[in-house]
Amino acid sequence: MSEPYRYFLIFLGALLIYNILLIRFIALCPLIGVSTQVETSIGMAMSVLFVMTMASAASWVAWNYVLKPLGVGEFLYIPVFILIIASLVQFTEMVIKKVSPPLYRAMGIYLPLITTNCAVLAAATESVKPGFLKLNVAYHFSLPECLVYTIGVALGFGVVIIIFACIRERLETSPVPHTFKGAPIAFIIAALLSLAFMGFANLLGL
């Protein structure tokens, strides 16, 4: 497997084939909660891309230079990654607030949401323990691979949540039966979208 091709596979796998929202159903709360308007879902997607990339890179460093040498990674990685994500979100919020108030107004309300976002934790975890790719059981990402993977996950999150928001905006004016209004119909739509995304399975042998 050539080097660029492997990067491509990692990216595509994270983006579509093992899409974090629709195939693995991680981070359902933003999928249902922040997808009522296209505008807010774009804001959320941008914030997730930003935070997820930073969190995964930091987690990768912490795993490879702190946890693994000490041999405590296997049972300590979740608290450590949560610590990293929470601190990074706080830090990012402060920096953005100071450096770019307009960006803060656009992204600020989503940043605290991301602190407890399971997608970010999942991406951080998998960037050090790649689970899905059928590459090699003992395989570990290098830092560039980890970044490519995380950006793929975040873009997959963004694409799906924006598609979902577009559908939900049109659902607002559709004659949905009273019982199904709101979240129930959103879950049904998510299931249908998920079926569509399952069509990517086994693409390029992934």
Partner: protein
């Protein structure tokens, strides 16, 4: 058991926590944004529902506007007097509160009074229903009863009963006027709170036609205009209008109106919704 794992874990977690703690402490100093300490108190004093009735994007923006002196302490339209007092306390000034009015729906015709001419099965919105062949209601001016105003109300002051009559809870209504803009038929107005006698019909049809479409309608019979001693009532556009400045709340017109479309609303009296509905159905004593 390998006890070395314990101190290794402690070192790893403690070390990283310390590192991030120092980083955050440094960042909070380096990237501090000077904010007025009153800002948080102000946000706490406001309702926090980000309803947007004040015209700002949210409660935080409204609080900022008050701090900057761009707006007065009664910025929160939905919160009314109570919130204005709290905001004034934070700002250390006397509460200046323009007495806001109360919303009034100029129509009390429900399904019983004004039988629909068609069955509407579309988007649950008055604006949409209004656009289709002049609405499904017989009266082309009356309330469509799909609850667009209820959805717009930030304080849940508007209720709808099973006969599609609207009731404004005057204790809850803060007179913010969001429903005024929401109603596609422009039936809602914010009227002075001390005004008790009100016309609750907006039908502009000629008398005979108006009687056809609704049993509680203004037919512009001019009886109220004649009986009014203060000269507060005038007929224009085939309906009665009360000049709130001249009205003495005597209620002569209420007794005179043959179609019961002038009503007296009880000022600031707490009623349960059930009472409102029964009172409205039996007589027109209670206003909407």
């Amino acid at each position: 058991m390998d006890w070395s794992l314990v101190w290794k874990a402690a070192i790893a977690l403690g070390g990283l926590a310390l590192l991030f703690g120092i980083l955050l402490a440094f960042a909070s100093r380096r990237f501090r944004v000077e904010t007025d300490p009153r800002l948080n108190d102000l946000i706490g004093a406001l309702l926090g529902s980000n309803c947007g009735a004040c015209g700002y994007p949210g409660c935080e923006a409204a609080a900022q506007a008050v701090l900057d002196g761009k707006d007065s302490v009664d910025v929160c339209v939905a919160g009314g007097r109570k919130v204005a007092e709290n905001v004034a306390r934070v700002m250390g000034v006397e509460p200046t509160m323009a007495e806001r009015g109360v919303a009034l729906v100029h129509c009390i015709g429900g399904l019983e009074e004004s039988v629909p001419k068609a069955i509407y099965q579309g988007i649950d919105s008055c604006a949409a229903a209004d656009k289709i062949a002049g609405g499904h209601k017989a009266c082309e001016y009356g309330c469509l009863g799909l609850g667009t105003c209820m959805a717009a109300c930030p304080v849940n002051a508007i209720a709808l009963d099973q006969d599609h009559r609207r009731w404004v809870n005057r204790d809850r209504c803060t007179g913010c006027g969001l429903c005024v803009e929401a109603c596609p038929r422009h039936l809602i107005q914010v009227v002075p709170r001390n005004q008790e006698v009100l016309v609750v019909c907006n039908n502009r049809d000629k008398g005979a036609r108006a009687r056809q479409v609704c049993s509680v309608c203004c037919t512009a019979c001019k009886k109220c205009e004649k009986v009014c001693k203060a000269g507060a009532i005038s007929i224009a556009d085939n309906r009665a209008w009360i000049d709130y400045d001249r009205c003495t709340q005597c209620g002569m017109c209420i007794e005179e109106c043959p179609n019961r479309c002038i009503v007296r609303v009880a000022p600031r009296r707490r009623r349960r919704r059930r009472d409102l509905v029964t009172a409205g159905a039996s007589s027109a004593e209670t206003g909407s």
